[in-house]
Symmetry: C3
Subunit: 461 residues, 3 copies
């Protein structure tokens, strides 16, 4: 009966569009022209309290959420300094969440561990908003990015969105790319050398979002520094049938990301990466472009765009307030913006025991001593239907979404192990225990007897 937002996947496309319309309602009546901020407040969250728990500093995000709550007429209790919190006394995040939900109607969490927000959601009876969990997700930043596109360009499908800079390290960029695919925008990637999109993101884009990387000859007017272009037809497709040609003579949005210039210096060709400024954006291609940036900028974005009508990065920040207001109003159920009463997972769940298969991500919340006492490792079984086609099954940690590829299956009925994909398919789901092909690993013993395949329904039990 409650919904949380841990990743942008927790919202359907229709729900996201509902949020945009609600944000428009908040904004249209009273947007200040110079600053794009709201000039008055509403009472949708009157009598409601949000808790902003920031176990990692982020003033900008915290202030945006607190502003949203105040503009809705609500109140905020805040823990902005990780060193003053009970977690310093060894308290588990689960306990902290269960205490804070006895105070607040909504919890907004930032945490250094990946998967922390999902843990919070599991233990909370009130809605949880992920305001950033390590390198994992920051879904309201993505919402804000999409809302800016929507507000500036009136649509998302078939927009030419060029994303440049560091495509390797930023969670913001990965989430944005997936979201652009969901709404059918053209994704044009121009990474700095050494900062290309990671393989696992590219694979996910193709296999889970049905995006297609285009050949050079399928793109008209390709800018020199562009690496690859993805399109995502809204109907299911086979790569072989794609014959579409994308025209890049007009870039709708130029999304610049922060470049760690100190890292660039150590690479050979880093210095060559252009600063995006007025002189770079000359030519017809960029005449109606909107330049976005998640801020703070360092040197990759010129100050001369601040007063240029194409610079949209301060609007982008400003729009974070009404879109967060809409999200809060949706989760508090004061506005009927959500299609579903509960979140419905996309995949089946693989339940392990504390001794069983573990997430191998060293920043995963499951690595925390205090959490291990009460949490069971759980993994999504990603795309098992295609396991025999072009990839092995992927076990994705439910918390941090880190992928693990088991190399074999243990058959509980027969007591045998197989690493042949064809044989896998003959084993009934409930008898499968995922494992590695070499049985030498010590912990494997404990794993055998206890791991089970669970359906989403057994998850909450």
């Amino acid at each position: 009966m409650k919904r949380s937002i841990v990743t942008i996947e927790d919202l359907t496309n229709q729900e996201i569009l509902n949020l945009f319309k609600q944000a428009d309602k908040y904004l249209d009546a009273n947007e200040d022209e110079a600053t794009h901020r709201l000039r008055r407040s509403f009472d949708d969250a009157h009598n409601r309290i949000a808790a902003t728990l920031f176990f990692e500093p982020s003033t900008r995000t915290r202030l945006s959420f607190e502003t949203a709550m105040f503009r809705l007429g609500g109140q905020v209790i805040s823990c902005a300094d990780p060193k003053t919190s009970s977690s310093d006394k060894g308290e588990s995040l689960a306990d902290t969440i269960r205490v804070v939900q006895t105070y607040a109607d909504l919890i907004i969490l930032r945490h250094p561990s990946e998967g922390a927000a999902r843990v919070a959601d599991e233990y909370a009876d009130v809605p949880v908003i992920n305001a950033g969990d390590g390198g994992h997700e920051h879904p309201t930043q993505t919402l804000c990015d999409l809302y800016t596109l929507y507000r500036e360009k009136k649509e998302l499908a078939n927009l030419n969105v060029l994303v440049s800079g560091d495509l390797k390290n930023g969670r913001t960029v990965h989430s944005l790319v997936y979201a652009l695919a969901r709404f059918g925008a053209h994704i044009i990637l121009a990474p700095a050398k050494g900062f290309e999109l990671p393989m696992h993101v590219a694979q996910r884009l193709e296999h889970e979002y049905n995006s297609v990387p285009l050949g050079r000859d399928s793109v008209k007017d390709l800018p020199d520094h562009v690496d690859v272009v993805y399109i995502t037809p809204q109907e299911p497709h086979s790569t072989a049938l794609i014959t579409v040609k994308v025209d890049l003579s007009n870039i709708d949005v130029y999304y610049v990301t922060r470049l760690q210039t100190e890292r660039l210096k150590n690479s050979r060709s880093g210095a060559a990466f252009p600063v995006i400024d007025k002189s770079f954006l000359q030519g017809d291609r960029y005449s109606d472009t909107r330049v976005m940036h998640p801020l703070p900028r360092v040197r990759e974005l010129g100050y001369d765009l601040d007063k240029d009508p194409r610079g949209a990065y301060f609007q982008q920040t400003a729009y974070g307030v009404p879109i967060r207001m809409a999200l809060i109003a949706a989760l508090l159920r004061v506005q009927p913006l959500l299609e579903r009463a509960t979140q419905t997972p996309k995949y089946d769940v693989y339940l392990s025991t504390p001794e069983g298969i573990r997430c191998t991500n060293k920043n995963c919340i499951l690595k925390n001593e205090a959490e291990r006492r009460h949490l069971t490792p759980k993994m999504w079984i990603v795309d098992p239907a295609q396991a025999n086609l072009f990839q092995p099954v992927i076990l994705r940690c439910i918390y941090c979404e880190y992928d693990y590829k088991p190399t074999a299956i243990f058959d509980k009925r027969s007591g045998t192990r197989t690493s042949s994909v064809d044989t896998w398919r003959t084993i009934p789901t409930e008898s499968r225990v995922f494992c590695d092909s070499e049985p030498t690993h010590k912990r494997r013993k404990a794993k055998k007897g206890t791991a089970t395949i669970a359906t989403p329904d057994t998850l909450k039990a």
Copy 2:
């Protein structure tokens, strides 16, 4: 004309019951079943501002108070980080308090020095709530504990309340034990080895709260790990007349406290102390028990009780909000919950000079350089009527309540010193100067001429 809450003793039993009834009013109308939090707010503190001054971190307590203030429709100014405060520039607490009271209608103080809240109360014209002063007191935690008992068990008198774990170091436990005595509950102590109730607490329980430790044969069905049971008849008594038999076949409340497991390892038998969880709480004795814990827990309390109906520790946290709301409403005089307009001290006061008898507690607020410039050492004269019966007079620091036992009295009329209790009684109160029997101590000289016995009336002058 103002009241403050520095210790739980600052409230009469009737006032505490009034607060419970007011908290019930706030809670009954709109308690959320899952989280026990309030779902709407009131306007009892509309237009009022509370200051939360936390010179020592405690997120949980601060958020609980701030929630209470917001649920009453008030506002909060907050200093949560000791390093950003003027006290770093050498300002005395007294000055800080007098500045902040020009802003706020109510001051909620947490401070590392014992007695800090009493100092604040002395200098404030607005009410002060002690939110924890070093190892001294944390009265709203005690209020919250009592309210949970009251709410879960409908009464306090004759309840069987078992308190286990670390009874030595926790101020929470000492205050709870005194409060249980005041309301006539049976106090059943089950300390970990080496963590027994300190002698001075046991003595205070007997001599000031009229509690009686029962012999083993006066208790029916004593659990193995229980150390001692206290009862407190509501009428004055003589120990010799106690013939009551207490039946422990039903434990109403099991109050678990945090065990510093690293300390336990160093003791011999620490490992033997049980973790309180479902398997420990088997048997009829615990079938209707409520398990409480001040949180955060470490390992002494099992996670399997979280969803057990007997686990009441998250309710306990939740009830902290309505009971703090009631206290704030009482102190702001928006609800007529207090019997008395001003606090009436229980004992006479012994005024010393800055050079006179000083509190010997090294964590006392009087040890602070900045406070010493303006504070006069003052001590309660505890129980002088019984001084000749079974104990010498106790001088209890008014601020930190640390006890000092003088071994002699100087008679101002005659200029002589006596350490005979019988002789003491012949000296008129106003001529007594408390001192030690050996006149060798250097500072004693200054003390002689200036120390006086004051009645409570002269305290405020």
Copy 3:
């Protein structure tokens, strides 16, 4: 169309008096007699949000502003810990301000760099209040000081205001002295030895505020420890015509400032500086004096004045709330208290290039790497009409107000440099490039071609 308060000079005398009257309105209806705090709130800032950005800790100032905002019915978003802010990631103050103004209707800034508030004002479309920028300015402290004088003494002109202690290091004192001059109070200076008013402040007092230091024989009843007395006739004057005699047999206000006692110990005669307490303030001269102090005090002010009717320093703190309320109401335009829609600078502006003349103050905001990327050095041309009379022209940094005295002028028409003041006057304003007389300095080359004289109108462009 927006006004900011960076220095007290940003308000006209009439505007200051308007603020006093508005503060009186807030206060008169509901001042608590004991604490001087307001007992109820208003709704002038209903639906408005202020951001308190404190990049340097100052609990007292922050709480005073936040109280003011709450008493006006508004809300506050707050960043109180510099270490949790984006500026740690290398973000410029300008960017931070432009982000925060998309959230808040008003920005209240404290910053360690001198001139930071002016930079914020330049980049903000919402009003900015300077809550202290390094050693530069703290105008609301000055407003509060003046309001206390006004409230306690009913007028400002011809009041005898004695200022003692550290007149060298405190920005509070320098601003107060200028403001007293503006309102025609007699300024009586009694510095501790080695803590005298700096030469540049004395010169500014004389040349820009038309104050006149009086000879000893023009002062009646001069206290021993007084150094100098300034009077400021409200009509323009020539020093030669001053024949007024000031009578110091009655001191209206004794303004004590904090003495760094550790610095005093290192000077020879420091120990001689008196503690201002009851015994010091004996005699008719001080019988109706009000003692003020900006707090926190250390040892220079006796605790025995706290309950003395002459001690006005806690009132002074209390009055900080209503005067800040009035200022906020004025800047948010909810009360018509301002005479002018925009700030009109007193002097012409000298525009340099990034490579040109730079402020020589090492604490100036222009020294910050991140700010240098977007800021152009600008300087006020102070008092050029008098340049040939008794002083060279002064170039005053627009941001930190640090003075720079160029020793020559380069004539753009003729390409020649002159250091003769007489010759300067023959060069048309638009051809003047300020420089030093010796052309050896390396950076001078860059300066020549680009520096220009700008009128105030070109400043905002």
